[in-house]
């Protein structure tokens, strides 16, 4: 059976995934040459976590629950916050920063001329594997929190948790792609990383404690609620089944919106030679 349109115009998704995997592997192998960086990164992650734990200890020196969340349950939230942070910094942010730099310098021409979907290519070009140290420590903290809390965790909770984490990763990716795409209009956007990291901090605590407008903002404008709080709800016996549907809906919506914004931005791109 022959295809009506050439493959490079309409890339098959399996090919895109293979490409992404290949890029991740090459990126990881490149970084794996610098073992000492892992030690440094791990040290940094541990320092960050230590500060976070002290902060949490100060909070619980003055109260025994925060908006209905006990101390072990807030540990779960913090652990998931760190896991997502590691995933973002290792797999999403490096490519997005590269994309912003390329738009600024006009060197986006190179990925655009490759015979694959440009969005896939710009999203997988760079990996900073050692940053995933945060995810490792985050996972340990999640487990510590789970052991300490007095709520039983069932298999179905873990399955929902994994699903929600996957969808959360996609929503954060979409949000980052939208941020990076604004570079087509604004050009100087070095501060995007600061903006994202600042907003990301709000995910350190369950969204329920924020006042209404802010809760709305970090649920739908910056999709942190579905990436951090909702997975934590799955592990602390608070998840409503509707939230799973909501997460799926939001993920799909963001995939479409970010794709549209990226396309629209691409039309504005002038390139290096014009």
């Amino acid at each position: 059976m022959t295809r009506p349109s050439p493959g490079w115009r309409d890339p098959d998704r399996a090919g895109s995934l293979r490409l992404a995997a290949l890029f991740f592997r090459v990126g990881a192998q490149n970084e794996l040459q610098y073992r000492l960086n892992f030690v440094v990164q791990l040290l940094q992650s541990i320092l960050g976590v230590a500060a976070g734990l002290v902060g949490l200890a100060v909070v619980f020196a003055h109260t025994n629950n925060l908006g209905g969340w006990s101390r072990p349950q807030l540990l779960v939230v913090m652990g998931i916050f760190l896991m997502m942070n590691g995933i973002t910094q290792a797999f999403i942010q490096p490519s997005m920063n590269l994309l912003i730099a390329d738009i600024q310098k006009g060197t986006l021409d190179f990925p655009l001329t490759k015979p694959v979907d440009a969005q896939v290519l710009v999203s997988v070009r760079s990996v900073d594997i050692w940053q995933a140290a945060d995810s490792l420590i985050g996972l340990i903290i999640v487990i510590v929190g789970l052991v300490q809390q007095d709520v039983a965790v069932h298999l179905v909770d873990i399955v929902s948790f994994v699903l929600l984490m996957l969808m959360g990763t996609v929503t954060i990716y979409c949000f980052w792609l939208m941020l990076a795409s604004t570079a087509f209009w604004l050009i100087k956007t070095d501060e995007m990383q600061e903006l994202f990291q600042g907003l990301y901090r709000t995910g350190q605590y369950p969204v329920g404690i924020y006042p209404g407008w802010l809760r709305y903002g970090i649920t739908f404008v910056v999709p942190l609620a579905f990436a951090i709080t909702v997975p934590a709800e799955a592990l602390t016996g608070r998840l409503e089944h509707l939230a799973l549907v909501g997460a799926a809906g939001l993920t799909l919506a963001l995939l479409v919106i970010s794709r549209l914004l990226w396309r629209k931005g691409l039309q504005r791109y002038g390139g290096a030679s014009s």
Binding site: G48, A51, H62, I209
Partner: protein
Amino acid sequence: MITAEPASGPIAETEPGRFREFRTNALWLWRYYTQFMRLAIITQFQYRAANYFYMIGMIAEPVVYLVVWSTIARTNGGSVGGFTPGTFAAYYIVWTLVRNINIVFTPFGWEQRIKDGELSGLLLQPIHPIHRDLAFFAGWKVIVIILWLPIAAALTLIFHPSLSPTVWQCVVFFLALWGAYLIRSMFLWALGLISLWTTRVSAIFQAYFMAELLLSGRLVPLTLMPKWARSLAGVLPFQSTFGFPITALTGPITDAQLWHGLLTQLWWIVVGGLIVKLMWRRGIRRFASVGG
């Protein structure tokens, strides 16, 4: 004595001549500063959107703390450690101004300065390069404060801070802001200079910033920290760059504490200046040896 003539020959070495030289130098330094500040204002004004992105990202941090501590105050029946949601709001809104003022040249920037050879250019100037950074960032603050005003207004409308400083507190606050600026400039400069000795500085920086976060009043007013942390903070410079300026305006604070705070700032400015001077002198020697 014949000393009326201006600097020429050995006469220039006498007192009035030296004074004149000092006056010319001071005037020259003043011009240097005002020029660089103007340059910073013009440059940064072009990047309003970028400056705003940066600021919004920054504002999220105190908002998180504020929401957490207001929640705790409310669960505890209205106040915790003497703070109500209103005074927490005052603390963290003033925090945003203090933070904006004490953002200075990042220690992470030194790696690039060294790698790109920018440092070589700085070495050629007839003046210590910290003046350039001090002047540039001070000028930037003008833009920052203008951009901060609407954010402060919005935060005030949302969180209803209770703030009633005296005139004297306002005066001390103004001085303390610039004290904090100078202290943080010096210490972060010194921290950045470590890059001249080793390239694996990120973990050192991280350790510094974590200590600052916990022991400065940035994370939480120091009065809410355990006693050991407070005593530790007492002998470190961090408090002078966050907790003191904020509390100077929000209170509760006595006149004696205000004076003590200002003098402590002065002490850390001197200490910071000496550290920078010493490290710079040793560091550039190393840098020259690497480059040449």
